[in-house]
Symmetry: C2
Subunit: 70 residues, 2 copies
Amino acid sequence: MSESVVQNYTVEGMTCGHCAASVTEELEEIDGVVAVEVDVTTGSVTVTSEQPLAEADVQAAVVEAGYRVV
Amino acid sequence: MSESVVQNYTVEGMTCGHCAASVTEELEEIDGVVAVEVDVTTGSVTVTSEQPLAEADVQAAVVEAGYRVV
């Protein structure tokens, strides 16, 4: 049986579904990420992964999408 | 010498650059459109075309992108 790691972040600057899609797409490229959920209204981003992620990788993915983890 | 038609519309609901890109992309698919300029802050969309466009085509393109001409 495999366990998942669920981690929540707050991302600043997302205003619409396109923003959510951009952030989701970049985060899903990180090795081990199996799911991403974004709530644009609150900036809440929940990442589910097969193993703990390096914070730097998560932050870099969000920046790559054009946003910032706060 | 060829003349261009420049028409301005106000589009509701665009919040970011992705929204602007979606609207621009759909409008550029209309036959004769040579340029689209979007100001997300005001909702102003300026379409330059080789000949006058059918209003229905413009509205349909904006709706296809997920927004509405007001």
